[in-house]
Symmetry: D2
Subunit: 407 residues, 4 copies
């Protein structure tokens, strides 16, 4: 097939147009592994709080690639030498960085498979694709693994100012309608540079970085850790847990072939084979939602009720505060429930539970954001900011929640 | 429960905030019938062309209600008397106008149930809810059916300038990223008025109405009737058709309970009972996509291939032109396919077919858009526009497509 | 001076950033001739109607240059060969295309100097700069005059789809807040191409061109020919006319040196010398407004009243309609005024007058917008548009106004 | 005149539409005192750096009034009782809060008149208008002076979260194109409330307030205190200073009548009479720019050169740093200049000077921003913010500049 025919432009509500730069990338996007990302929600069940948030991993991956194109242009304009091969590696690595995400992105990351991160699965997918595409992903894989000798390239893929973050903060803010979370990705990229193989932000961008960190913090507390998102995610995890329990006991559960596989097998790092990857490649949001729609009529009290809560958005009550909730409160809610529905303490525990959420707006210890002063010196943003005490942002904030059924 | 506690605000990427005005509307939105709309894509499979277009009927219904609130405010400000009860009826009618949509909105409207429009099903849902809510939807139902004596209220629900259209054009343009389809809904609403019980646009709004019609036309040809959307929709219909055929022959098909019901029963106007509605209320995009994901590994050549095409976005080739495609071309493609895969003519017909799409930017004969001149006279927009020949827009344009597999 | 140091980026509310591509263009922008454009309002006195419309010729020139950079990139990407020298010529020609505008842009074009268009004066400025910059504007001048052998380059500077128009429609819509006049300049440019040395729009852009023409028409009637803009412009012209009359009679008028020159000398094509250009280069909006501020306390009834009307935005009443106003109406208003203020018919004529405004949304006879069909044929947009009768847009629409003092 | 006829809507690029709520406010806006604000730039000479920043005090005043309408609606919705009379007072007070600004807003505040703040002059204008409008501004004046007994009303006019600030930050960010300075005024207002007569922000708005403060800080350092804005402002002040000196010496200077008055008279608090106000009401940006245009050809070396620098945007070189510049550096520049142009030390001082700029993102000691916690307690934002060390923002940051001519 003619290469030129494959050049394509996508409409994007955020950036206007996204261009697919070459035939290899076109083919990767067309691959069924990548097309699967169209069926994986970027923000899990956040759409239960922000009804606009139905965007997908597919769209985010495309957006990240677009920003990477911008970043490469800016750096080259400033004299940073990036070869064609390196550019392709950057674009492919960012395009595929999330290809290992399972249903509902982070929400179920630890429920379906135990102890295997989505990054690890992304890597497995990339290696598989590398075989299929005759080694043309080798350099991309090196960059993705952070093993390429040019450090700034690895930082563009994964750091506190990488193109992944730049796109998802902007995109999530856009689709939720939380306009204040909006970051000016284009401007930040304009101020990138490379010094001693380190990605840096030029000094005049210091206020923009500050604003980026504050916007990120706002998105965390207002969106990602919104109490309703948290409870929905917790319930989702409990659906899988319960289903596995029942399945282990031999209870029959209507589910898709792929989901059935993961219910019946305990998959972890040691037994995640190439065959597992094949099944995993068939799993997406649709398997989970469809199962829950069926299970809301199952006999099991726990399973049916949690599923119904999620499907009909009739969730548990949730309270968030700065201190841990008292064990007595938890106990009281549980007992009320046990009595009311004649269920065991263990069953009640599916509906009454506590937990914590935590966020650190800036990590001081790794992958720092460096500011390049006019004099040529490089400083951590925390030290470069003259007034705003960014160091405070590196202190994790933890909040504690309790969930229980409405009375 | 306290009414005030139920007052809620939603974030919307388009309008900023959407307010839920009262407790009844809050309860309708919380109802599982309405929550189902969260799982029905507003634009069917258009996201295969425009990856941002994952917004739902739920969101569109909320947006239409928001615009209706604006319209009521504007009209009251201009001295049009609208009682509290009438306002509620308008808000409820627009909120529920699409509640009868099935999976993928229009795409499957005629495949799952025969000869029952989504409006008819919306009405059934509304009547059912009216029972549940002790008659508080009675006036809304009258307005929805176009039977209320105040004609302009019916026009706000359904006409060539209704709040449904105002929201979906704006929303679809926004989420597809086809910025040029953007209409200025707020401005159009600002220029509404009522004369002799007819909804009119004040004269100074004439150029805005022109632009609205041209934007609508652009959305039709660039988005709604985009050739890839058309082929995806056609394939979707054929999936259902084939599945029903196989089901009728007794072939076993893995599917959700709700979908199984509609595969095994031919539902039409005469046998659409209250029980049917109950099952229909469980059907959404997830049933269809999950089924297709399973069916792509079915034994049936036709079913498996169509499903795989949709799931992996590896669609048929499609050509669009102004004249009908020659029967010989269709025949040639069919024969090639029959030979290549040893399939029957009937089976080949699932992959090679022609059809037409048609759009009329302005309907001259019904529900005209009226312009109120400064002198107080009312004219159809077609006559009021001094230069742009809008009459031409009332001539339907038809284009003809042919679909066949890539070689 | 170091070339690199001169590279600069401007913030633009519309396009985000505007880059100055090279040192020559930097120097042209820094030249006092060009800096003068900072003091010339792009839209004359339209800010009396749309208070946001204070943008300048300077900003528009920068914006047009930015769009030209985009257009060059798009065309090169599509294989159109444009040399570095040609690109510079395009950028310079569009940057300087309006440098000959006098105070309040079009409003006073025929009052200060007789029979010399702003384009002619732009050319004089360009030739003068060409001397100063040792011939480096020679190619730009050729392109500006439409004499360069590559026709599409001349069309990018001046045609019905040139970069001038693309920027001013977008910019004027943006600053007035008339959001519906917004055109998608970026998208239109994306669809440009060159065939047989003609600038064409690819077929898929047909609806965008339609929308561009309709938006342009809307801007004309809603903004450029808004009745209050019209009356302000008419009064502005009459201020100059009256001041010249008085000046000719030897009446002393406080004014800036530059304005005094044009009051005391009748400048036309034949006597517009290099010295005239020198004085013209000092004339801008500030000369006119300052003069009017003084003249509102002059003895002359006509001069003082017109100036006061403009300065305090207490304008004449204006009525706009489709037919000519009756001579008797004009006469009646005049007589009332003569009687009331004991002034002559000639003096009353400054306050009571009629006129017409006219717009043609698309010119059929010159500089057509060509659509390139997929088959490779080129058609005028009027013929290519399948339904919308664009031919009607080529019929000029005329409206008639009458102005007279409030009673 | 009919009240209804006076109701009017303005287009605003930022808020869409601004409504004039009643006849009194319509008449105030139409008054020549208020119309004068159309000729006073909101951001002084910032347009020399950000070419889009030509918006006026007129537009800002309208925008602030619009936000005040929103705030009144929100507070009433939350049960805060605000009478019609009080609403009018709020709208009028905010509309007129800046009416006392002289040419170029802050830039010349201390050059034209000595020791009289623009707030004091605003008050004089308001009192004059109160006479003209028969006492209908009495309540507005009380609120403006901070003397009304309902404290939250005074805070809406003047505090660290008043409607003035909310509009100008948003508007200045919009027109400069520094998108990151954008604040979400609408959202902040949505979260206002009143407790114990104090204006508070509800707890969920805490991250929005943080972001507001960071955006404000960004606007200060990136825009308001941009080194080129600073040098332009300094030069502007020196023009006036020099012109006054020359005028005192009896040197003739061409200038408008109003400007001449202020050159020839030393106006301060004690001699600012009602007649002074009359002259002041004629003074705006146009007087200053026109004068500088003439003066760039004056005989005086200092005056002519400073004027020419501003008019042709050929400014002094400026360096900004964290420490004071050395006295020897200043001296060296001065001596070079004296020698080169044979001028006195005093004259050279007009071109070589140092100074400091300072900003405090949050004032800890007055007009605090209060956060209302869910438990009903009120905390200063500095204490309520759990992680971001806002206290640091209350420490003033000072930077030091040196200006001298390019070599």
């Amino acid at each position: 097939m003619n290469k030129v025919n494959k050049l394509k432009i996508f409409n994007d509500p955020i950036y206007g147009f996204i261009t697919i730069p070459n035939s290899l990338i076109f083919d990767l996007i067309a691959h069924k592994y990548f097309q699967r990302l169209r069926r994986i929600s970027q923000m899990g069940m956040t759409y239960l709080v922000y009804p606009g948030a139905h965007h997908t991993r597919f769209h985010h991956a495309m957006g990240s690639m677009h920003l990477m194109q911008k970043a490469v242009n800016v750096l080259r304009f400033k004299g940073v030498d990036i070869s064609q091969e390196e550019e392709d590696a950057l674009l492919i690595a960012i395009l595929l960085h999330d290809i290992g995400h399972g249903p509902f992105s982070h929400a179920m990351e630890h429920s379906i498979v135990t102890g295997v991160s989505h990054e690890a699965i992304s890597l497995l997918f990339m290696e598989r694709l590398n075989q299929e595409f005759n080694g043309s992903l080798t350099l991309a894989i090196q960059v993705f693994k952070g093993e390429y000798h040019r450090n700034f390239m690895c930082q563009l893929i994964s750091s506190q100012l990488d193109m992944d973050r730049a796109d998802y903060l902007k995109r999530d803010s856009f689709y939720t309608g939380v306009a204040e979370g909006n970051i000016n990705a284009e401007r930040l990229i304009t101020m990138l540079n490379v010094v001693d193989d380190e990605l840096v932000v030029e000094e005049k961008g210091i206020y923009s970085v500050e604003k980026f960190l504050v916007a990120r913090r706002l998105m965390y507390w207002q969106v990602y850790l919104h109490k309703t998102s948290v409870v929905a995610e917790q319930l989702l995890m409990r659906v899988l847990k319960r289903a596995k329990e029942l399945s282990n006991k031999g209870v029959d559960l209507k589910a898709s072939s792929a989901l059935t596989y993961f219910l019946k097998n305990d998959i972890n790092k040691s037994n995640f084979t190439i065959d597992t990857l094949d099944v995993f490649a068939h799993l997406d949001d649709y398997d989970i939602v469809s199962a829950m729609k069926e299970w809301q009529y199952h006999d099991d009290f726990v399973l049916k009720n949690i599923c119904s809560m999620i499907i009909n958005r009739d969730l548990l009550k949730v309270k968030l505060k700065d201190k841990k909730h008292k064990i007595e409160d938890v106990q009281a809610h549980k007992e009320r429930l046990m009595k009311q529905h004649h269920i065991s303490a263990e069953e009640a525990g599916y509906f009454v539970f506590t937990g914590e959420v935590s966020n650190q707006a800036y990590e001081l210890k790794s992958q720092n954001i460096n500011i390049l002063s006019k004099s040529g010196k490089i400083k951590d943003i925390v030290k470069a900011s003259d007034q705003l005490n960014l160091k405070a942002l590196s202190k994790p904030v933890t909040k504690y929640y309790i969930c229980y059924p409405k009375e």
